[in-house]
Subunit: 468 residues, 2 copies
């Protein structure tokens, strides 16, 4: 059979493009840098939204919806923020056939407009913390785009919270990082992530501190999967977000913001995919079990339908493919491309022996299973393969992470993976020098891998890598 995809070790970026196209995940939109997310790709995102949204709500955060368009003047109120985002803005100048009095921008992120409303809604310490989130689209002008990874428009969630104290804001920023982001990424996406602090150079425009989750892709490069920002009182001062304390005095709030996007779909592809296509972790998978008729006749259709119904009854997200007018081989290749965790192939020969074949996407193994045991076998396979994907990704990362002693060694090691270097050996100068060679500090960690409270802590370790 001809190769459907460019092999990864031949040309990884080309392999990625092939998977996105052939698994029918997304396409370029008609306007430069925009994307069309097709049903197969969107179903992955919907499952991400559902799992993330549960975790976000568990923190007490409520969803809301803020406008797409933001007055230019809002963007300008926080000095670093406007500087960071000015080059990326899309501007609306006309509406209803007339020129607008003040140009407005399509939100690149919503700190400013949400800040304006927080200032209205927060009056007293009783109104705090104010915990908001929205799922929406944002736009940033990008010259070089890549589907899911970097596009002019993307879908995301952006959380925005206001707190009475530094301590409360700081703790919440880290709670989102660990309990929402890292928990989702490790336990649902099956991708181990490093959590750490961004350097000043990589920080969000206007933030005191940016914390991030970084995952290793199968080419050894890093992907920033999510960020959680401590904004200090910068936005509270720019937008006058104040509260009357129990001490009878006015205080500025401490705010946070945090986001994850459709970029995670790119991370899923490059974190688990192989030369046959996507491999979707069972807990995430919109289709966990794919029941296929090999060919028509001999009760095959009925048996497949019964297995499908049994799986559904057991709470498995099953899909039935009984399109016997499409060649079986083509359908099987398509199922591999789309990364369904298990396939159940129902054909006349096995059926005559009371069996169907269980094919596991993770390792390609094919096992005949008695019809009565299919549901149980599937359930067990789904659980085991969730873990197997995580273990494999963790092993890959650890095989491709090197402790180094000098910046030169770090740049060298970042050619194939992550390099861990004492931050005192790197520093701002070393960071700038590495950047000239396409290597960046992905995050700062404590020596034990935990997240530092600030980049002023002693004995920090910098993780350097090439990144998407």
């Amino acid at each position: 059979m001809a190769k459907v995809l460019t092999p990864r070790n031949e040309d990884f970026p080309r392999w990625y493009q092939d998977v996105v196209a052939k698994a029918e995940l997304a396409e370029n939109g008609p306007v430069k840098g925009q994307q069309v997310i097709r049903p197969t790709g969107f179903a992955l995102w919907e499952r991400m939204v559902s799992e993330m949204d549960d975790r976000i709500k568990d923190t007490g955060t409520e969803n809301a919806s803020f406008p797409l368009l933001i007055p230019q003047s809002y963007m300008q109120r926080e000095a670093e923020h406007v500087e960071g985002f000015a080059p990326e803005l899309w501007t609306v100048t006309h509406a209803g056939g007339k020129q607008l009095e003040e140009p407005v921008v399509v939100r690149p992120t919503s700190e400013t407009v949400i800040g304006e409303y927080m200032a209205k809604w927060v009056q007293s310490y009783r109104d705090l913390p104010l915990l908001l989130n929205q799922w929406c689209n944002v736009m940033r002008y990008e010259l070089r785009t890549r589907l899911f990874l970097r596009s002019s428009e993307f879908l995301w969630q952006e959380g925005h919270t206001a707190h009475a104290t530094y301590e409360d804001a700081h703790a919440f920023t880290l709670r989102i990082l660990h309990e929402v982001y890292a928990d989702f990424m490790e336990n649902v996406l099956a991708l181990p992530v490093l959590t750490g602090l961004k350097t000043a150079a990589e920080r969000f425009a206007g933030a005191l501190n940016t914390f991030a989750c970084e995952a290793m892709m199968r080419d050894g490069k890093a992907l920033q999967m999510g960020t959680s920002h401590e904004l200090g009182q910068n936005f509270a001062k720019a937008f006058d977000i104040q509260y009357l304390g129990s001490d009878g005095k006015q205080h500025h709030c401490w705010t946070t913001s945090w986001g994850t996007s459709t970029r995670m779909v790119g991370g899923l592809i490059m974190g688990h995919g192989d030369d046959s296509g996507l491999r979707v972790p069972p807990r995430l998978a919109p289709v966990q079990a794919y029941v296929m008729t090999v060919k028509a006749g001999d009760g095959v259709g009925e048996a497949a339908a019964a297995l499908h119904a049994g799986l559904r009854d057991a709470g498995v997200r099953s899909r039935l493919d009984d399109r016997t007018d499409v060649p079986f081989g083509r359908r099987a290749v398509d199922a591999e491309l789309k990364g369904y965790p298990v396939r159940i192939e129902v054909g006349p020969r096995d059926l005559a022996e009371g069996k169907a074949v269980l094919v596991r996407r993770v390792d390609g193994s094919k096992t005949p299973v008695g019809l009565d045991s299919v549901t149980e076998a599937v359930t067990q396979a789904l659980e085991a393969d969730q873990q197997a994907l995580y273990d494999e990704a963790l092993r890959f990362r650890s095989d491709n992470t090197t402790d180094v002693g000098t910046l030169a060694e770090a740049v060298e090691a970042a050619g194939t993976g992550f390099a861990r270097l004492a931050w005192s050996e790197c520093g701002l100068e070393g960071e700038a020098k590495a950047a000239e060679q396409g290597v960046t500090v992905r995050c700062l960690q404590r020596a034990d891998g935990t997240v530092p409270d600030s980049d002023q802590e002693p004995d920090l370790v910098a993780v350097l890598a090439r990144a998407y």
Copy 2:
């Protein structure tokens, strides 16, 4: 106690504004006509999305995501479409600090861009029907706006499908109208809706036929709650959506589109609200039961928490309000404003007798209930009150619907409700004349209330009303 809201019979539009503000549902955005949907309002929309999305998926439709920005040239390909939408467009002219080569518009609806992709994706009859939907934001320039009802940006779902035959497209348009829209509105929103055909004057720009769901608000005016359009082959021809038939020949597809929006939140408010605020039907309600401590002490907090836990275990969406530092009266007024279907008030006096008080929002009734029976009483009340709200709305509509014989009588009757007039007595001329007095034909129905296939059927009845 001072009235919190302007009474409905004093000034209905003012009452509506009051509810939206005081129940903390939404506010105006900083850019004219845009809206901020606050958590209480957004939770209603989230529940609508969830219930609608289930029904949409049950039809075999899959979700996807298409770009926010559409090249102006796309809008121009279908003549009636561009004419209908040109005055409402928001235009982006600059990005990344430079002028764009071709101006692009913020989508007012996505027939054109989705048409472009359908043309790529549909090759043979095997690819049909192609059933797509997206949940997204759209923008239309509006001079006079009202929160939820008419705003420059709104959230909606837009379904877009392509079919091999007229019959299949026609049937699907009506399936959406009945099985998704009317079913959701009647069984979840508890709002009876008239389903019918729009006249040529009220049709979607570029459609052959527009079918609609129309509900009566408590001021007797109509609100269009959702529309389902038969687009014939107009868009298929403009965008070259063709398929190779089983006859070996190329054919143009027949397409449909259909939408519902955050406007339904406005319908919910005006369809069920009373002088104390919102009344949310239990099946929709994000908070079905609101458990309140009347004041602290005497085991009240513990009892309330236990009742809340018991309700949650029974699958009731319960919220606990134990803020004894906020006056009880203020909390109770707020609960009425927000329309929680039932409240459980837990106070020391009732508790001493082993009871709590069940307050039903629909009729304001207060009943002491033994602690052991609370869950059962709540469950029964929720079921009964879902029906009670529907019955009340249906009675109101039927009390305010008049069969009339002349256009003059119809315009008169439309002052307080719906008028039913033979379409042959009204016609295009009568429709234009009524419009001068602010009365429009909401839909055409057959004499038995069912939906006609076209406005050419004999003996049609026109329903006339003032409308939002």
